[in-house]
Symmetry: C2
Subunit: 305 residues, 2 copies
Amino acid sequence: MFMKKIAIAIHGGAGGDSAFIRDHLAEYEQGLKDAVESGYKVLESGGTAVEAVETAVRSLENNKYFNAGRGSALNAEGKVEMCTSIMEGNQMKAGAAALVRNVKNPISFAKNLMEGSEGMYVGGPVTLQMAKEMDLELEPNSYFVTEHQFDAFREEREKHPGKEKFALHMHGTVGAVAVDKKGNVAAGTSTGGTNFCLPGRIGDSSMIGVGSYADNRTAAISCTGDGEYLIREVMAGSISSTIEHTGCSTQEACNHVIHVKNENTEGDLGAIAVDTDGNIGIAFNSERMHRAWKTSEELEVKIYR
Amino acid sequence: MFMKKIAIAIHGGAGGDSAFIRDHLAEYEQGLKDAVESGYKVLESGGTAVEAVETAVRSLENNKYFNAGRGSALNAEGKVEMCTSIMEGNQMKAGAAALVRNVKNPISFAKNLMEGSEGMYVGGPVTLQMAKEMDLELEPNSYFVTEHQFDAFREEREKHPGKEKFALHMHGTVGAVAVDKKGNVAAGTSTGGTNFCLPGRIGDSSMIGVGSYADNRTAAISCTGDGEYLIREVMAGSISSTIEHTGCSTQEACNHVIHVKNENTEGDLGAIAVDTDGNIGIAFNSERMHRAWKTSEELEVKIYR
Protein backbone atom coordinates (compact mmCIF):
# COMPACT_ATOMS: atom_id res chain seq x y z
CA MET A 1 0.00 0.00 0.00
CA PHE A 2 1.17 3.49 -0.82
CA MET A 3 2.05 5.31 2.39
CA LYS A 4 0.62 8.79 2.78
CA LYS A 5 2.52 11.71 4.21
CA ILE A 6 2.06 11.88 7.98
CA ALA A 7 1.56 15.14 9.84
CA ILE A 8 0.40 16.41 13.21
CA ALA A 9 -0.51 19.83 14.59
CA ILE A 10 -1.43 20.76 18.15
CA HIS A 11 -2.64 23.82 20.01
CA GLY A 12 -2.63 24.89 23.64
CA GLY A 13 -5.29 27.58 23.47
CA ALA A 14 -5.82 30.97 21.80
CA GLY A 15 -6.34 34.25 23.60
CA GLY A 16 -4.63 37.26 25.09
CA ASP A 17 -1.11 37.45 26.44
CA SER A 18 -0.39 37.30 30.18
CA ALA A 19 2.50 37.78 32.58
CA PHE A 20 2.26 34.09 33.48
CA ILE A 21 2.70 33.07 29.85
CA ARG A 22 5.65 35.45 29.37
CA ASP A 23 7.27 34.15 32.57
CA HIS A 24 6.96 30.54 31.44
CA LEU A 25 7.69 30.68 27.72
CA ALA A 26 10.36 28.00 27.98
CA GLU A 27 8.01 25.62 29.78
CA TYR A 28 5.24 26.23 27.26
CA GLU A 29 7.56 25.72 24.30
CA GLN A 30 8.96 22.54 25.81
CA GLY A 31 5.45 21.27 26.54
CA LEU A 32 4.29 21.91 22.99
CA LYS A 33 7.41 20.28 21.57
CA ASP A 34 7.06 17.21 23.77
CA ALA A 35 3.41 16.81 22.86
CA VAL A 36 3.84 17.19 19.12
CA GLU A 37 6.86 14.84 19.14
CA SER A 38 4.96 12.21 21.12
CA GLY A 39 2.11 12.25 18.62
CA TYR A 40 4.44 12.24 15.63
CA LYS A 41 6.25 9.19 17.01
CA VAL A 42 2.96 7.30 17.06
CA LEU A 43 2.35 8.16 13.41
CA GLU A 44 5.93 7.24 12.43
CA SER A 45 5.61 3.81 13.97
CA GLY A 46 2.40 3.16 12.02
CA GLY A 47 -0.13 4.17 14.67
CA THR A 48 -3.48 5.63 13.71
CA ALA A 49 -4.30 9.32 13.62
CA VAL A 50 -6.67 8.71 16.52
CA GLU A 51 -3.83 7.22 18.59
CA ALA A 52 -1.53 10.12 17.70
CA VAL A 53 -4.17 12.67 18.68
CA GLU A 54 -4.81 10.87 21.94
CA THR A 55 -1.09 10.70 22.74
CA ALA A 56 -0.45 14.38 22.02
CA VAL A 57 -3.51 15.55 23.94
CA ARG A 58 -2.64 13.31 26.91
CA SER A 59 0.78 14.91 26.99
CA LEU A 60 -0.83 18.37 27.20
CA GLU A 61 -3.41 17.14 29.75
CA ASN A 62 -0.58 15.84 31.94
CA ASN A 63 1.33 19.11 31.65
CA LYS A 64 0.31 21.48 34.42
CA TYR A 65 0.89 24.59 32.28
CA PHE A 66 -2.06 23.85 30.00
CA ASN A 67 -5.74 24.22 30.89
CA ALA A 68 -6.79 20.58 30.44
CA GLY A 69 -6.41 17.61 32.76
CA ARG A 70 -3.86 18.66 35.40
CA GLY A 71 -3.78 22.46 35.37
CA SER A 72 -7.48 22.81 34.60
CA ALA A 73 -9.36 25.94 35.61
CA LEU A 74 -11.56 25.77 38.72
CA ASN A 75 -15.29 26.41 38.50
CA ALA A 76 -17.19 28.59 40.98
CA GLU A 77 -17.29 25.68 43.44
CA GLY A 78 -13.51 25.33 43.21
CA LYS A 79 -13.92 22.04 41.35
CA VAL A 80 -12.43 20.93 38.06
CA GLU A 81 -15.05 19.98 35.47
CA MET A 82 -13.64 19.06 32.07
CA CYS A 83 -14.90 18.74 28.49
CA THR A 84 -13.47 16.72 25.64
CA SER A 85 -14.22 15.33 22.19
CA ILE A 86 -12.54 13.20 19.53
CA MET A 87 -13.51 12.27 15.97
CA GLU A 88 -11.99 10.21 13.18
CA GLY A 89 -12.48 11.00 9.52
CA ASN A 90 -12.76 7.56 7.94
CA GLN A 91 -16.05 6.27 9.37
CA MET A 92 -16.73 9.63 11.04
CA LYS A 93 -17.14 8.05 14.44
CA ALA A 94 -16.93 10.34 17.43
CA GLY A 95 -16.86 10.39 21.22
CA ALA A 96 -17.50 13.38 23.44
CA ALA A 97 -18.03 14.13 27.11
CA ALA A 98 -18.97 17.14 29.21
CA LEU A 99 -18.83 17.83 32.96
CA VAL A 100 -16.16 15.18 33.50
CA ARG A 101 -14.60 15.01 36.96
CA ASN A 102 -11.70 12.96 38.32
CA VAL A 103 -10.69 11.37 35.02
CA LYS A 104 -6.97 11.95 34.59
CA ASN A 105 -7.12 12.00 30.78
CA PRO A 106 -10.50 13.03 29.44
CA ILE A 107 -9.33 12.54 25.82
CA SER A 108 -8.87 8.81 26.51
CA PHE A 109 -12.40 8.70 27.88
CA ALA A 110 -13.68 10.24 24.64
CA LYS A 111 -11.63 7.76 22.58
CA ASN A 112 -12.98 4.77 24.52
CA LEU A 113 -16.50 6.11 24.09
CA MET A 114 -15.94 6.47 20.34
CA GLU A 115 -14.63 2.94 20.05
CA GLY A 116 -17.33 1.38 22.21
CA SER A 117 -21.03 1.05 21.61
CA GLU A 118 -22.11 3.15 24.54
CA GLY A 119 -23.21 6.25 22.72
CA MET A 120 -21.41 9.28 21.42
CA TYR A 121 -21.93 12.14 23.87
CA VAL A 122 -22.39 11.87 27.64
CA GLY A 123 -22.08 14.19 30.58
CA GLY A 124 -22.05 14.44 34.36
CA PRO A 125 -21.56 11.78 37.03
CA VAL A 126 -22.12 8.92 34.57
CA THR A 127 -18.71 9.74 33.07
CA LEU A 128 -16.96 8.75 36.30
CA GLN A 129 -18.94 5.52 36.50
CA MET A 130 -18.09 4.72 32.86
CA ALA A 131 -14.42 5.69 33.32
CA LYS A 132 -14.20 3.11 36.12
CA GLU A 133 -15.62 0.45 33.81
CA MET A 134 -13.08 1.53 31.16
CA ASP A 135 -10.25 1.09 33.72
CA LEU A 136 -9.07 4.63 33.10
CA GLU A 137 -6.78 6.36 35.59
CA LEU A 138 -8.69 8.43 38.13
CA GLU A 139 -7.40 11.23 40.33
CA PRO A 140 -8.85 13.22 43.22
CA ASN A 141 -9.81 16.83 42.54
CA SER A 142 -6.59 17.99 44.21
CA TYR A 143 -4.48 16.33 41.46
CA PHE A 144 -5.93 18.73 38.90
CA VAL A 145 -5.44 21.91 40.95
CA THR A 146 -2.35 24.02 40.31
CA GLU A 147 -1.36 27.09 42.26
CA HIS A 148 -1.54 29.19 39.12
CA GLN A 149 -5.13 28.20 38.43
CA PHE A 150 -6.09 28.57 42.07
CA ASP A 151 -4.71 32.13 42.06
CA ALA A 152 -6.67 32.88 38.87
CA PHE A 153 -9.81 31.41 40.47
CA ARG A 154 -9.31 33.58 43.57
CA GLU A 155 -8.82 36.68 41.44
CA GLU A 156 -12.06 36.04 39.54
CA ARG A 157 -13.92 35.34 42.76
CA GLU A 158 -12.85 38.71 44.12
CA LYS A 159 -14.00 40.43 40.92
CA HIS A 160 -17.44 38.80 41.03
CA PRO A 161 -18.38 38.57 44.69
CA GLY A 162 -21.30 36.25 45.37
CA LYS A 163 -21.88 35.46 41.72
CA GLU A 164 -20.36 33.07 39.24
CA LYS A 165 -18.86 34.36 36.04
CA PHE A 166 -20.95 33.91 32.93
CA ALA A 167 -19.03 36.02 30.44
CA LEU A 168 -18.76 34.95 26.83
CA HIS A 169 -15.00 35.24 26.99
CA MET A 170 -14.10 31.83 28.33
CA HIS A 171 -11.19 29.88 27.03
CA GLY A 172 -8.15 27.73 27.51
CA THR A 173 -8.11 24.53 25.52
CA VAL A 174 -5.73 21.99 24.07
CA GLY A 175 -6.19 20.05 20.87
CA ALA A 176 -4.53 17.99 18.17
CA VAL A 177 -5.14 16.98 14.57
CA ALA A 178 -3.25 14.27 12.70
CA VAL A 179 -3.11 12.26 9.51
CA ASP A 180 -1.65 8.75 9.56
CA LYS A 181 0.13 6.56 7.00
CA LYS A 182 -3.20 5.18 5.78
CA GLY A 183 -4.37 8.71 5.05
CA ASN A 184 -6.98 8.81 7.80
CA VAL A 185 -7.39 12.02 9.76
CA ALA A 186 -8.51 12.59 13.36
CA ALA A 187 -9.09 15.54 15.68
CA GLY A 188 -9.30 15.82 19.46
CA THR A 189 -9.88 18.63 21.93
CA SER A 190 -9.79 18.83 25.73
CA THR A 191 -10.34 21.62 28.22
CA GLY A 192 -10.53 22.43 31.88
CA GLY A 193 -12.99 25.24 31.26
CA THR A 194 -12.90 28.71 32.76
CA ASN A 195 -11.99 29.93 36.21
CA PHE A 196 -14.95 30.63 38.48
CA CYS A 197 -17.44 29.65 35.80
CA LEU A 198 -20.87 28.24 36.51
CA PRO A 199 -20.69 24.58 37.56
CA GLY A 200 -22.67 22.74 34.88
CA ARG A 201 -21.49 24.90 32.00
CA ILE A 202 -20.97 22.66 28.96
CA GLY A 203 -18.00 23.78 26.90
CA ASP A 204 -17.55 24.01 23.16
CA SER A 205 -14.63 21.58 23.40
CA SER A 206 -17.08 18.76 24.04
CA MET A 207 -19.14 19.58 20.96
CA ILE A 208 -18.59 17.64 17.74
CA GLY A 209 -18.79 20.24 14.95
CA VAL A 210 -17.63 23.05 17.24
CA GLY A 211 -14.50 21.94 19.14
CA SER A 212 -13.57 18.91 17.03
CA TYR A 213 -14.50 17.63 13.59
CA ALA A 214 -12.99 15.11 11.20
CA ASP A 215 -13.93 13.98 7.72
CA ASN A 216 -11.42 12.37 5.34
CA ARG A 217 -13.20 14.17 2.47
CA THR A 218 -12.32 17.57 3.98
CA ALA A 219 -10.02 17.74 7.03
CA ALA A 220 -9.61 17.14 10.76
CA ILE A 221 -10.07 20.32 12.76
CA SER A 222 -9.66 21.35 16.41
CA CYS A 223 -10.77 24.80 17.54
CA THR A 224 -10.03 27.03 20.49
CA GLY A 225 -10.89 30.52 21.68
CA ASP A 226 -13.98 32.07 23.23
CA GLY A 227 -16.32 29.11 23.56
CA GLU A 228 -19.62 30.78 22.98
CA TYR A 229 -18.39 32.44 19.79
CA LEU A 230 -17.10 29.10 18.54
CA ILE A 231 -20.53 27.55 19.23
CA ARG A 232 -22.57 30.14 17.36
CA GLU A 233 -20.23 29.74 14.36
CA VAL A 234 -20.19 25.91 14.59
CA MET A 235 -16.52 26.59 14.03
CA ALA A 236 -14.99 23.19 13.17
CA GLY A 237 -17.96 22.19 11.02
CA SER A 238 -17.88 25.53 9.24
CA ILE A 239 -14.23 25.06 8.25
CA SER A 240 -15.05 21.57 6.98
CA SER A 241 -18.05 22.86 5.01
CA THR A 242 -15.92 25.58 3.43
CA ILE A 243 -13.58 22.94 2.01
CA GLU A 244 -16.55 20.74 1.01
CA HIS A 245 -18.30 23.45 -0.97
CA THR A 246 -15.45 25.57 -2.34
CA GLY A 247 -12.68 23.03 -2.80
CA CYS A 248 -10.22 25.47 -1.24
CA SER A 249 -7.13 24.36 0.63
CA THR A 250 -7.13 23.52 4.33
CA GLN A 251 -5.19 26.70 5.11
CA GLU A 252 -7.52 28.82 2.99
CA ALA A 253 -10.57 27.37 4.76
CA CYS A 254 -9.13 28.26 8.19
CA ASN A 255 -8.30 31.76 6.95
CA HIS A 256 -11.71 32.25 5.39
CA VAL A 257 -13.75 31.26 8.45
CA ILE A 258 -11.58 33.10 10.99
CA HIS A 259 -10.40 36.19 9.07
CA VAL A 260 -13.14 36.74 6.46
CA LYS A 261 -16.44 35.30 7.69
CA ASN A 262 -15.69 36.35 11.27
CA GLU A 263 -13.68 39.47 10.46
CA ASN A 264 -15.80 41.58 12.83
CA THR A 265 -16.17 39.11 15.69
CA GLU A 266 -15.51 40.17 19.27
CA GLY A 267 -14.38 36.66 20.11
CA ASP A 268 -10.93 35.11 20.12
CA LEU A 269 -10.95 32.32 17.55
CA GLY A 270 -8.28 29.79 16.63
CA ALA A 271 -8.16 26.59 14.59
CA ILE A 272 -5.72 23.93 13.53
CA ALA A 273 -6.47 21.51 10.70
CA VAL A 274 -4.88 18.78 8.62
CA ASP A 275 -6.12 16.97 5.52
CA THR A 276 -5.47 13.49 4.16
CA ASP A 277 -2.60 14.80 2.00
CA GLY A 278 -0.80 16.06 5.09
CA ASN A 279 -1.48 19.74 4.46
CA ILE A 280 -1.70 21.72 7.66
CA GLY A 281 -3.91 24.77 8.19
CA ILE A 282 -3.52 27.12 11.15
CA ALA A 283 -5.31 30.43 11.80
CA PHE A 284 -6.16 32.60 14.80
CA ASN A 285 -7.24 36.19 15.38
CA SER A 286 -5.92 36.56 18.95
CA GLU A 287 -2.63 37.83 20.30
CA ARG A 288 -1.36 34.32 20.71
CA MET A 289 -2.15 30.72 20.04
CA HIS A 290 0.11 28.15 21.61
CA ARG A 291 0.81 25.78 18.72
CA ALA A 292 3.21 23.33 17.15
CA TRP A 293 3.27 21.11 14.12
CA LYS A 294 5.48 18.41 12.71
CA THR A 295 5.79 16.82 9.29
CA SER A 296 8.64 14.92 7.64
CA GLU A 297 10.01 18.32 6.59
CA GLU A 298 9.61 20.58 9.59
CA LEU A 299 9.03 20.96 13.31
CA GLU A 300 7.69 24.30 14.46
CA VAL A 301 6.75 25.55 17.92
CA LYS A 302 5.12 28.97 18.23
CA ILE A 303 3.18 31.03 20.74
CA TYR A 304 2.75 34.56 19.38
CA ARG A 305 1.80 35.67 15.86
CA MET B 1 -41.12 49.61 7.84
CA PHE B 2 -41.84 47.06 5.14
CA MET B 3 -43.30 43.96 6.73
CA LYS B 4 -41.80 40.67 5.67
CA LYS B 5 -43.81 37.54 4.94
CA ILE B 6 -44.27 35.51 8.12
CA ALA B 7 -44.02 31.71 8.18
CA ILE B 8 -43.65 28.88 10.66
CA ALA B 9 -42.87 25.17 10.33
CA ILE B 10 -42.80 22.55 13.06
CA HIS B 11 -41.90 18.89 13.40
CA GLY B 12 -42.73 16.17 15.89
CA GLY B 13 -39.93 13.75 15.07
CA ALA B 14 -38.79 11.61 12.13
CA GLY B 15 -38.51 7.83 12.13
CA GLY B 16 -40.34 4.60 11.46
CA ASP B 17 -44.05 3.99 11.61
CA SER B 18 -45.69 2.32 14.63
CA ALA B 19 -49.04 0.90 15.68
CA PHE B 20 -49.28 3.64 18.32
CA ILE B 21 -48.89 6.37 15.70
CA ARG B 22 -51.45 4.74 13.38
CA ASP B 23 -53.90 4.38 16.28
CA HIS B 24 -53.54 8.05 17.20
CA LEU B 25 -53.32 9.82 13.87
CA ALA B 26 -56.17 12.18 14.75
CA GLU B 27 -54.49 13.22 18.01
CA TYR B 28 -51.13 13.74 16.28
CA GLU B 29 -52.69 15.79 13.50
CA GLN B 30 -54.62 17.90 15.99
CA GLY B 31 -51.50 18.42 18.10
CA LEU B 32 -49.46 19.53 15.11
CA LYS B 33 -52.25 21.86 13.95
CA ASP B 34 -52.65 23.40 17.40
CA ALA B 35 -48.91 23.96 17.75
CA VAL B 36 -48.38 25.50 14.32
CA GLU B 37 -51.46 27.73 14.74
CA SER B 38 -50.30 28.91 18.19
CA GLY B 39 -46.92 29.92 16.79
CA TYR B 40 -48.43 31.55 13.72
CA LYS B 41 -50.72 33.65 15.92
CA VAL B 42 -47.68 35.03 17.73
CA LEU B 43 -46.15 36.06 14.40
CA GLU B 44 -49.43 37.58 13.14
CA SER B 45 -49.71 39.76 16.21
CA GLY B 46 -46.18 41.08 15.71
CA GLY B 47 -44.33 38.73 18.05
CA THR B 48 -40.75 37.71 17.37
CA ALA B 49 -39.68 34.51 15.64
CA VAL B 50 -38.15 33.45 18.97
CA GLU B 51 -41.50 33.90 20.73
CA ALA B 52 -43.32 31.99 17.98
CA VAL B 53 -40.83 29.12 18.17
CA GLU B 54 -41.12 29.02 21.95
CA THR B 55 -44.94 29.02 21.79
CA ALA B 56 -45.14 26.24 19.20
CA VAL B 57 -42.57 24.06 20.98
CA ARG B 58 -44.28 24.59 24.35
CA SER B 59 -47.52 23.39 22.77
CA LEU B 60 -45.77 20.18 21.64
CA GLU B 61 -43.99 19.82 25.00
CA ASN B 62 -47.35 20.04 26.78
CA ASN B 63 -48.92 17.48 24.44
CA LYS B 64 -48.46 13.99 25.82
CA TYR B 65 -48.28 12.38 22.36
CA PHE B 66 -44.91 13.97 21.56
CA ASN B 67 -41.55 12.96 23.04
CA ALA B 68 -40.66 16.27 24.73
CA GLY B 69 -41.82 17.71 28.03
CA ARG B 70 -44.86 15.66 29.08
CA GLY B 71 -44.67 12.40 27.14
CA SER B 72 -40.88 12.22 27.24
CA ALA B 73 -39.10 8.90 27.00
CA LEU B 74 -37.75 7.35 30.22
CA ASN B 75 -34.06 6.66 30.63
CA ALA B 76 -32.69 3.43 32.10
CA GLU B 77 -33.40 4.71 35.61
CA GLY B 78 -37.03 5.38 34.67
CA LYS B 79 -36.36 9.13 34.84
CA VAL B 80 -37.08 11.81 32.29
CA GLU B 81 -33.96 13.74 31.24
CA MET B 82 -34.56 16.32 28.51
CA CYS B 83 -32.47 18.28 26.00
CA THR B 84 -33.27 21.54 24.28
CA SER B 85 -31.80 24.42 22.27
CA ILE B 86 -32.91 27.68 20.69
CA MET B 87 -31.15 30.18 18.43
CA GLU B 88 -32.07 33.44 16.74
CA GLY B 89 -30.65 34.54 13.42
CA ASN B 90 -30.22 38.28 13.89
CA GLN B 91 -27.48 38.46 16.52
CA MET B 92 -27.00 34.69 16.43
CA LYS B 93 -27.56 34.36 20.14
CA ALA B 94 -28.34 30.90 21.45
CA GLY B 95 -29.34 28.99 24.56
CA ALA B 96 -29.06 25.25 25.09
CA ALA B 97 -29.41 22.75 27.90
CA ALA B 98 -28.82 19.04 28.39
CA LEU B 99 -29.82 16.60 31.13
CA VAL B 100 -32.71 18.80 32.25
CA ARG B 101 -35.09 17.34 34.83
CA ASN B 102 -38.36 18.64 36.27
CA VAL B 103 -38.64 21.72 34.06
CA LYS B 104 -42.11 21.67 32.48
CA ASN B 105 -41.02 23.51 29.34
CA PRO B 106 -37.34 23.06 28.53
CA ILE B 107 -37.61 25.36 25.48
CA SER B 108 -38.48 28.28 27.79
CA PHE B 109 -35.40 27.47 29.85
CA ALA B 110 -33.28 27.65 26.69
CA LYS B 111 -34.91 30.96 25.71
CA ASN B 112 -34.28 32.48 29.15
CA LEU B 113 -30.69 31.31 28.97
CA MET B 114 -30.27 32.89 25.53
CA GLU B 115 -31.70 36.17 26.72
CA GLY B 116 -29.73 36.27 29.97
CA SER B 117 -26.03 36.59 30.54
CA GLU B 118 -25.56 33.26 32.23
CA GLY B 119 -23.86 31.39 29.44
CA MET B 120 -25.05 29.54 26.41
CA TYR B 121 -24.97 25.82 27.16
CA VAL B 122 -25.48 24.16 30.54
CA GLY B 123 -26.35 20.70 31.78
CA GLY B 124 -27.29 18.62 34.79
CA PRO B 125 -28.61 19.64 38.21
CA VAL B 126 -27.63 23.31 37.71
CA THR B 127 -30.51 23.56 35.21
CA LEU B 128 -33.07 22.94 37.96
CA GLN B 129 -31.41 25.50 40.22
CA MET B 130 -31.40 28.06 37.38
CA ALA B 131 -35.00 27.24 36.38
CA LYS B 132 -36.07 28.09 39.93
CA GLU B 133 -34.31 31.45 39.67
CA MET B 134 -36.05 32.00 36.31
CA ASP B 135 -39.44 31.31 37.95
CA LEU B 136 -40.19 28.61 35.40
CA GLU B 137 -42.90 26.04 36.06
CA LEU B 138 -41.54 22.86 37.61
CA GLU B 139 -43.15 19.42 37.74
CA PRO B 140 -42.32 16.17 39.53
CA ASN B 141 -40.99 13.32 37.40
CA SER B 142 -44.44 11.72 37.43
CA TYR B 143 -45.91 14.65 35.44
CA PHE B 144 -43.72 13.74 32.46
CA VAL B 145 -44.48 10.00 32.47
CA THR B 146 -47.18 8.71 30.14
CA GLU B 147 -48.42 5.12 30.01
CA HIS B 148 -47.33 4.85 26.40
CA GLN B 149 -43.75 5.82 27.20
CA PHE B 150 -43.69 3.62 30.29
CA ASP B 151 -44.80 0.64 28.18
CA ALA B 152 -42.07 1.45 25.64
CA PHE B 153 -39.52 1.71 28.48
CA ARG B 154 -40.63 -1.67 29.87
CA GLU B 155 -40.39 -3.27 26.45
CA GLU B 156 -36.82 -2.00 25.96
CA ARG B 157 -35.87 -3.12 29.47
CA GLU B 158 -37.02 -6.63 28.67
CA LYS B 159 -35.01 -6.63 25.44
CA HIS B 160 -31.81 -5.48 27.19
CA PRO B 161 -31.82 -7.17 30.59
CA GLY B 162 -29.36 -5.65 33.02
CA LYS B 163 -27.91 -3.21 30.50
CA GLU B 164 -28.91 0.19 29.23
CA LYS B 165 -29.47 0.75 25.56
CA PHE B 166 -26.73 2.54 23.71
CA ALA B 167 -27.84 2.08 20.12
CA LEU B 168 -27.27 4.81 17.59
CA HIS B 169 -30.92 4.72 16.62
CA MET B 170 -32.36 7.07 19.18
CA HIS B 171 -34.98 9.60 18.33
CA GLY B 172 -38.19 11.44 19.08
CA THR B 173 -37.91 15.20 19.00
CA VAL B 174 -40.02 18.28 18.45
CA GLY B 175 -38.92 21.51 16.85
CA ALA B 176 -39.99 24.73 15.22
CA VAL B 177 -38.58 27.36 12.87
CA ALA B 178 -40.14 30.75 12.18
CA VAL B 179 -39.62 34.09 10.48
CA ASP B 180 -41.29 37.20 11.90
CA LYS B 181 -42.53 40.48 10.41
CA LYS B 182 -39.11 42.05 10.88
CA GLY B 183 -37.56 39.27 8.84
CA ASN B 184 -35.70 37.66 11.71
CA VAL B 185 -35.55 33.87 11.87
CA ALA B 186 -35.34 31.53 14.86
CA ALA B 187 -35.14 27.79 15.48
CA GLY B 188 -35.85 25.66 18.54
CA THR B 189 -35.70 21.96 19.36
CA SER B 190 -36.72 19.91 22.40
CA THR B 191 -36.62 16.22 23.22
CA GLY B 192 -37.30 13.70 25.92
CA GLY B 193 -34.59 11.39 24.64
CA THR B 194 -34.82 7.66 24.13
CA ASN B 195 -36.46 4.95 26.17
CA PHE B 196 -34.11 3.01 28.45
CA CYS B 197 -31.11 5.05 27.31
CA LEU B 198 -28.06 5.69 29.45
CA PRO B 199 -28.70 8.34 32.10
CA GLY B 200 -26.27 11.13 31.25
CA ARG B 201 -26.55 10.76 27.49
CA ILE B 202 -26.46 14.24 25.96
CA GLY B 203 -28.75 14.51 22.96
CA ASP B 204 -28.23 16.17 19.61
CA SER B 205 -31.29 18.36 20.29
CA SER B 206 -29.25 20.33 22.83
CA MET B 207 -26.44 21.00 20.36
CA ILE B 208 -26.31 24.31 18.51
CA GLY B 209 -25.27 23.42 14.94
CA VAL B 210 -26.76 19.94 15.17
CA GLY B 211 -30.33 20.17 16.53
CA SER B 212 -30.91 23.90 16.04
CA TYR B 213 -29.25 26.66 14.04
CA ALA B 214 -30.30 30.12 12.93
CA ASP B 215 -28.61 32.77 10.81
CA ASN B 216 -30.55 35.50 9.01
CA ARG B 217 -28.01 35.24 6.17
CA THR B 218 -28.99 31.61 5.53
CA ALA B 219 -31.96 30.10 7.42
CA ALA B 220 -33.32 28.80 10.71
CA ILE B 221 -33.15 25.02 10.92
CA SER B 222 -34.38 22.35 13.36
CA CYS B 223 -33.35 18.73 12.86
CA THR B 224 -34.65 15.38 14.03
CA GLY B 225 -33.88 11.72 13.50
CA ASP B 226 -31.18 9.40 14.80
CA GLY B 227 -29.19 11.64 17.11
CA GLU B 228 -25.73 10.28 16.62
CA TYR B 229 -26.02 10.49 12.83
CA LEU B 230 -27.18 14.08 13.13
CA ILE B 231 -24.15 14.86 15.32
CA ARG B 232 -21.53 13.40 12.98
CA GLU B 233 -23.08 15.38 10.10
CA VAL B 234 -23.44 18.59 12.17
CA MET B 235 -26.81 18.53 10.47
CA ALA B 236 -28.30 22.00 11.05
CA GLY B 237 -24.97 23.74 10.49
CA SER B 238 -24.38 21.71 7.34
CA ILE B 239 -27.71 22.87 5.84
CA SER B 240 -26.83 26.48 6.71
CA SER B 241 -23.35 26.13 5.17
CA THR B 242 -24.85 24.69 1.98
CA ILE B 243 -26.94 27.85 1.53
CA GLU B 244 -23.97 30.05 2.51
CA HIS B 245 -21.61 28.56 -0.04
CA THR B 246 -23.88 27.58 -2.94
CA GLY B 247 -26.62 30.21 -2.73
CA CYS B 248 -29.21 27.47 -3.27
CA SER B 249 -32.75 27.72 -1.90
CA THR B 250 -33.69 26.61 1.61
CA GLN B 251 -35.57 23.61 0.20
CA GLU B 252 -32.65 22.66 -2.05
CA ALA B 253 -30.23 22.85 0.89
CA CYS B 254 -32.40 20.46 2.96
CA ASN B 255 -32.68 18.10 -0.01
CA HIS B 256 -28.95 18.24 -0.72
CA VAL B 257 -27.81 17.43 2.81
CA ILE B 258 -30.40 14.72 3.51
CA HIS B 259 -30.86 13.07 0.10
CA VAL B 260 -27.55 13.70 -1.70
CA LYS B 261 -24.75 14.13 0.86
CA ASN B 262 -26.29 11.49 3.15
CA GLU B 263 -27.81 9.34 0.42
CA ASN B 264 -26.22 6.19 1.87
CA THR B 265 -26.72 6.87 5.56
CA GLU B 266 -28.17 4.24 7.86
CA GLY B 267 -29.70 6.93 10.03
CA ASP B 268 -33.16 8.50 9.94
CA LEU B 269 -32.68 12.19 9.20
CA GLY B 270 -35.20 15.02 9.02
CA ALA B 271 -35.03 18.81 8.87
CA ILE B 272 -37.31 21.81 8.70
CA ALA B 273 -36.05 25.26 7.74
CA VAL B 274 -37.25 28.76 6.96
CA ASP B 275 -35.41 31.77 5.58
CA THR B 276 -35.94 35.51 6.01
CA ASP B 277 -38.10 35.62 2.85
CA GLY B 278 -40.53 33.12 4.36
CA ASN B 279 -39.45 30.21 2.17
CA ILE B 280 -39.90 26.88 3.93
CA GLY B 281 -37.69 23.85 3.39
CA ILE B 282 -38.62 20.36 4.60
CA ALA B 283 -36.83 17.07 3.94
CA PHE B 284 -36.60 13.64 5.58
CA ASN B 285 -35.47 10.16 4.56
CA SER B 286 -37.60 8.18 7.01
CA GLU B 287 -41.04 6.59 6.68
CA ARG B 288 -42.60 9.52 8.45
CA MET B 289 -41.90 12.91 9.90
CA HIS B 290 -44.66 14.53 11.91
CA ARG B 291 -44.79 18.08 10.51
CA ALA B 292 -46.88 21.11 9.82
CA TRP B 293 -46.34 24.56 8.37
CA LYS B 294 -48.30 27.73 7.98
CA THR B 295 -47.86 30.83 5.83
CA SER B 296 -50.34 33.48 4.69
CA GLU B 297 -51.17 31.14 1.80
CA GLU B 298 -51.38 27.68 3.29
CA LEU B 299 -51.71 25.48 6.34
CA GLU B 300 -50.47 21.92 5.98
CA VAL B 301 -50.32 19.05 8.49
CA LYS B 302 -48.61 15.82 7.44
CA ILE B 303 -47.23 12.67 9.00
CA TYR B 304 -46.23 10.25 6.23
CA ARG B 305 -44.35 10.98 2.99
